[in-house]
């Protein structure tokens, strides 16, 4: 524990800016993953333990696409779209067979998918770490904000994620599809009885969730290294985000992802050995005080 360093950091604007930026990056990427988890849980009541796999595959697809086309934009698009497609296939081929059965079956299927794809990634891309490297367009001098160093890529990344958060929030509250999704979250059977094709709706929800995770993986690839099994730590953190924010709440996911990101950003200064533990402590505290999460409805 190093409270002195934390205090020193909080009083210098450069350190605050740097740590806030890194916290925001972590938070925004987490939000993209957690939004999918919370959406899928909210509508389908499925806890998608395989969501980290979408994130991992998104990163790897982007890595390969960048190698082939040399365009980061295409790489991100490929990562997101391929995972949207993968989400639909995953839902149709596997998850749709265990709707309504107990959590055990869902858990086992997701566990199997995680095992299979961790190994497939090892076979295709090898067990070693890959570094994607910063895209060419962003290899420019960093911005200086109030003395803190902010690489332009970070700023763009935070911007894209924020944009998606806004689009997702508006889409859910304003559009017809969004309203149908929210209705299905409350009572899917009734929505189906009213003539909505819920099979299609569920597939769309999985496509959106998978696509967001793939997008997060592709966006994160230049700032983090790629490795088989990288999805799991993201999965755990996105669960924590979902639990803190309240299951099924997109706004809650955003707020708690940012909270976790900032705890991580400043935690590395104050408690370098115990940053992970800090996040769990936040989670346990919130579970004890508000079991339904910050933005969740009472269970």
């Amino acid at each position: 524990m190093d409270l002195h360093a934390l205090g020193a950091c909080l009083t210098t604007s450069a350190c605050v800016v740097t740590q806030t930026t890194s916290g925001l990056i972590v938070g925004m990427l987490l939000f993209l993953v957690a939004a999918g988890v919370t959406l899928i849980f909210g509508v389908l009541k499925i806890v998608n333990f395989a969501h980290g796999t979408f994130y991992m595959l998104g990163g790897y697809v982007a890595y390969t696409t960048l190698g082939v086309t040399d365009s980061y934009m295409l790489a991100v698009l490929a990562g997101a779209l391929s995972m949207a497609l993968f989400g639909v296939v995953f839902e149709r081929a596997l998850i749709s067979r265990v709707y309504g059965s107990n959590v055990l079956m869902q858990l086992l299927i997701c566990y199997a998918v995680v095992l299979i794809f961790d190994d497939l990634v090892k076979i295709v891309w090898g067990p070693e770490f890959h570094a994607m490297g910063m895209p060419q367009a962003f290899q420019v001098p960093p911005l200086f904000i109030a003395g803190g160093v902010v690489p332009p890529f970070y700023a763009v990344l935070i911007g894209i994620a924020a944009l998606i958060a806004i689009v997702l929030g508006l889409g859910l509250s304003m559009t017809r599809l969004g309203k149908t999704v929210r209705a299905a979250a409350i009572n899917a059977q009734m929505v189906s009885a009213l003539g909505v094709n819920t099979t299609l709706l569920f597939a769309i929800v999985f496509a959106v969730g998978g696509g967001l995770a793939g997008l997060a993986g592709a966006l994160a690839a230049p700032v983090r290294s790629l490795s088989p099994g990288m999805g799991f730590s993201v999965l755990i953190e996105s669960f924590i985000v979902t639990v803190i924010g309240g299951m099924g709440s997109i706004a809650g996911a955003l707020a708690s992802a940012l909270l976790i990101g900032l705890v991580r950003g400043f935690g590395t200064i104050g408690f370098p050995q115990f940053t992970d533990g800090l996040i769990y402590i936040v989670m346990i505290a919130i579970l004890l005080l508000r079991p339904q999460g910050l933005f969740g409805r009472r269970l």
């Binding site: 566990y111 115990f274 269970l299």
Partner: protein, 319 residues
Amino acid sequence: MKGNRRSGTRETAIAAVALLIVLVVPFVHRSPAFEDFVIRLSSMALFATSLNLLVGNTGMVSFGHGMFYGLGAYAFALMMQMTELSLPVAAMLAVLFTTVAALCVGAICVRLSTDYFAFITLAFQMLIYSVIISWQSLTGGDQGLRGGLPRREIFGFDLASQLHLYQCCAVVAVLGLLALRHISASPFGQTLRMIRDNESRTGFLGVVLWRARLWAFTIAGGFAGLGGVLAALFVSGAYPELADWPNSGQAIFAVMLGGINSFLGPVLGAAILLALNDAVARVTEYQGLVLGIVILIFALGLRRGVLDFLRVAWSKDSQ
């Protein structure tokens, strides 16, 4: 209650016969591979059966049961290395420690709904795992606790000998399973099954749901810790993998593979899983790939474990 007691005697007799057979085998034929397998099975069987107290009996799907397995192993190994305690005392203290840990974790988790419960138990497991990894001065970090356990004799048993370790593990496992069987057949076990089938009605009958669940969680944690102690004896140390999430996944699969509605299902599941892992490891390094496909076949095809499957087939035949 009379019938209950009679079946209790019967089960004790079955357990005694099973134990006797297992103990006699090495005198007829020594096979290190078989003894190795039984030692690992005794640990895994306790682990999986304790998980089934939650999954099959109470309907609580915990994805973090491996944390107690790992905690038991680490507590035992650390006590053996750092203190002069005799082996049984260290084992008992390790199980006690795990039980208390399960009580604390359970106190936070058991009030949550099923989906949340799986989430949170997994998160707790990862907390324990990250503590084990980062507390290097105590646990040795990701290298695990090495240096071996001091081999103290107990009652003339020398655990450095594989035969003695085999006998010790078999006895502990059979006694542990018998105890779990008694718990699951007791009125408390019936209450747990009632909660699984209909929690609101059980609540109307005056059962305090969270208290019964917390007891189940605590007991299951304690027995998983006992399994961990055996694992620590076998590997002569403790490794972070014991507390890692794939271990919990393995236990869940063992439970499902054998059958959640039969008491011995998880034991059979653990045996099949261990044999499967060994066989796959000989053929390919991509164990996860094969294991994953097998899991999918079971989860989507059979939809129930081997023993449950046989029981359903049996009762159809006899009708």
